[in-house]
């Protein structure tokens, strides 16, 4: 059944033109997760459901983290597409009450696209959040559909954790930040279709203002510190409509939205445009009538616009008004209840023999040295080594990994997802950390044409999480990464957070280098490998866990900078293997082979 028919049946009447606009956004794949929510429900989860995933770091702090894609905008307008990808995910972290502390990016493209790198660099550097790691995969498979997945992380104090809902009638919602313009109108719907669709114009692309974002971060954290924020949501896809309806619908409440109070950059915008504009650098804060003035005062001190735009009601209806006229009046819950597409079962097959599909090897220095990876003075292990390690000044620290295996995804999505997760665990253990949780970035072609691949990928993720006992805390799905019907390989990006008990991270030093483990893969050996990695890291040996040891130029150059010269014969192995590289002669039960020296 067409979505419009479902909507009319639920409303019990014909839809209005304004409602079509609103539901086109809210029930888009990008906002509504129609094709993926059935699968996501089956994943083992922790700290799920808010703007970002939440895991405890220690007795006083929580970590908020999430990965998000900005693939479609980056294809059309690389600079602003990538920049606003950073901005959006940062606000998701912020909305939980956490100070953003790190950015990682997973980039799949056919060449190093300057605009994308510049966009991330310009935005991330300005807002003072270090870009501490990432992956760079170069292949012609991404010629028309580059993938820009950005993961952001933040740390907050437990008493500052902010719910992503309103709580009671009588509360108000202040919207503050930059002014609202026409940029990004129908961005959510554009991101939910083939790139040759009618919405693929630059008007659908949001424009970034990193200075406003920096002001917004500091203003919001000051509001949190003063206890003014009772709930929060950032304005991203779907703008005012999505943010405010989610805040009230989750609590079975309603809202009266005064669109005429929104500060505009373009004064002739019509009410529906104001409702769904995706202008960046805006936040919605749930607060009481008494505290609202102080919220506005703080926002203005940080040179931002702010006004009370929404009254929270008990009616359960989402009513948007412009002056005295009603723009839309629908059940708030209905906006959230996007139709759910059927999910497909998938019965795993035995792991096939994978072939090497090599992505181009590029030295990542040319990219990550354009990102400020040190601001904040907490970057303990910087880019170039693999996993990043970040300390928390009044606590210990955490590890960050972002990883994908699209080369396997092309051949068999179930095991591709499974192996990606196992490799994340190895990388996390290699710096002496223990895996806490993951965030998953689903990047897929057309789920209506190839539903089985998506089912296989999601089942692989689920089974691997259960095998490793690592839950999912947040995630993002980007579907319809197609151009004229041709799609990308199934590309599941996993971001993993690990916890460190202390900051005695193994460091490279002059030593013999060994390949330890197995050149092929057997699932029943994986735990044995993990135990060995954990033990070797604890003993202080530097470990390199990579899927492809033939491309180590980035590591080699990084070692040169600290005066070390690595000379190794890359160990030969299968595309899926159980091999690690260890600096130093360590005793182990696993097969061990001398492969070179570090001088």
């Amino acid at each position: 059944m067409k979505y419009i028919d479902i909507l009319e049946r639920k409303l019990g009447r014909k839809v209005t033109k304004a409602e079509i606009e609103a539901f086109t956004v809210m029930w888009s794949e990008h906002c509504g997760y129609s094709h993926t929510k059935g699968y996501i429900r089956q994943l083992p989860r922790v700290g799920f459901g808010g703007n970002a995933g939440i895991v405890p770091l220690d007795d006083y702090h929580f970590i908020a983290f999430k990965v998000e894609s900005h693939n479609h905008p980056s294809a059309i307008e690389p600079f602003n597409g990538a920049a606003t990808g950073v901005g959006g995910i940062i606000r998701d972290i912020l909305a939980m009450g956490a100070r953003p502390t790190a950015i990682l990016d997973s980039l799949h493209m056919d060449k190093v696209t300057e605009g994308i790198i510049d966009g991330i660099s310009d935005y991330g550097n300005s807002i003072g959040v270090p870009t501490v790691g990432g992956e760079l995969r170069i292949s012609d498979y991404y010629k028309y559909n580059p993938l820009v997945n950005v993961m952001a992380v933040g740390v907050g104090r437990n008493e500052h954790l902010i719910p992503s809902t309103a709580q009671k009638p009588g509360q108000v919602i202040v919207i503050f930040g930059g002014a609202t313009g026409r940029d990004g109108i129908h961005g959510a719907s554009f991101a939910s279709e083939d790139l040759t669709g009618e919405k693929a114009t630059k008007l659908s692309i949001q424009v970034g203002d990193p200075f406003a974002e920096k002001m917004l971060i500091e203003a919001f954290l000051e509001m949190v510190e003063e206890g003014l924020v009772e709930g929060a949501q950032d304005l991203g896809a779907g703008g005012v409509l999505s943010a405010t309806s989610e805040l009230v619908a989750k609590a079975n409440l309603g809202a009266i939205v005064h669109l005429d109070r929104m500060p505009l950059r373009e004064p002739d915008m019509n009410p529906v445009e104001i409702l769904i504009s995706e202008s960046q650098e805006r936040m919605a804060v749930v607060t009481s009538v008494e505290k609202a003035n102080r919220v506005i005062e703080i926002a203005r001190r940080y040179l931002l616009f702010a006004d009370i735009v929404v009254e929270v009601t008990e009616t359960g209806r989402y009513v948007a008004k412009y002056n005295d006229g009603t723009v839309i009046d629908v059940p708030a819950k209905l906006l959230e209840e996007s139709p759910e597409e059927r999910t497909y079962g998938y019965r795993p097959v035995e792991m096939p023999k994978f072939n090497w599909i090599k992505f181009k090897n590029v030295d990542a220095h040319g990219v990550f040295e354009r990102y400020d990876y040190m601001v904040g003075t907490d970057t303990v292990v910087r880019p170039g080594y693999g996993p990043a390690v970040i300390r928390v000044k009044s606590s210990s620290g955490y590890s960050l990994v972002i990883h994908s295996r699209a080369d396997l995804g092309l051949q068999e999505p179930y095991w591709a997802a499974y192996i990606t997760l196992l490799e994340c665990v190895r990388k996390t253990l290699s710096v002496g950390a223990r895996p806490l949780a993951i965030t998953d970035g689903i990047n897929y072609a057309d789920p209506d044409v190839q539903p089985e691949g998506l089912a296989a990928q999601m089942k692989g993720l689920k089974d691997a999480c259960e095998f490793a006992n690592v839950p999912v805390a947040s995630g993002n799905a980007s579907l319809y990464n197609t151009y004229k019907g041709n799609g990308i390989p199934p590309t599941l990006v996993i971001g993993m957070i690990g916890k460190l008990e202390n900051l005695n991270v193994p460091r490279p030093r002059k030593s013999a280098i060994y390949a330890i483990g197995f050149k092929d893969f057997k699932l029943e050996r994986e735990r044995l490998l993990w135990n060995e990695i954990e033990r070797i890291a604890k003993a202080g040996y530097f470990i390199v866990s990579m899927h492809d040891f033939s491309t180590m130029s980035t590591l080699k150059q990084e070692l040169q900078k600290i005066g070390l010269d690595m000379k190794v014969k890359s160990p030969k192995c299968e595309p899926v293997h159980q091999l690690i590289m260890v600096f130093g002669d360590v005793d182990t039960k696993l097969p061990k082979e001398l492969i070179g020296y570090c001088n």
Binding site: L303, R370, D372, V380, R382
Partner: protein, 236 residues
Amino acid sequence: MTASFPKAQVVVYPGSNCDRDALWALRYVGFDAEFVDIRSHIGSDVNLLVLPGGFSYGDYLRVGAVAAREPISSEIRDFMSRGGLIIGICNGFQILIEMGILPGALLQNSTGKFICKIVELEVVDNETPFTRYFERGEKIHLPIAHGFGRYVKTNGLVNSQDNVIFRYAQDVNGADELIAGISNENKNVLGLMPHPERAIEKLIGSDDGLRVFLSAFNYIKTSSENMLQKTKVGVA
């Protein structure tokens, strides 16, 4: 009578983003340190002022140009005339140049790109309040992170023999004479592109920046003790 700890303030401009790092570094070496908002005032008992790195006002105009025209600038000038110590780091250096306190100009890197890495520097002058703990000619490592760090001399405004404090060991951004940091004539103002506040612990890569702050700390301590001595002698 015990002398109190040297006091420092970090000027927070809209868009500063190394303000918290500078505060952490100052407290790490023992300063009684706090932030000062641009609408607020520099304390009368302050010994050291830090203008931190970042992107003041987004650097949408010429870097540092808007921040240099804030009302607090006149307080910063008065503070400098009284002999107070000032360190401008990265965007803070750019602001000091825009204010005309330090000579020259900072242009876009010759590569046209932002550069973030740890670089080798030579300490050219160790007779300033900020470099007393270094040897002359010593090679140290500090991080850089900037897009507009290419120092250029302007019509004889800088006599590089007297004013250059740090030089890059190799060319990184196309700066004239590899200049990385300079001072004013009285040597109570230091401006530099590298980030000493990011290099105060081995854990995060280098602790060579620690001595910039320790030098200033020690300088303030000894000069205030000397003052105290003189006062005592005077009373006796």
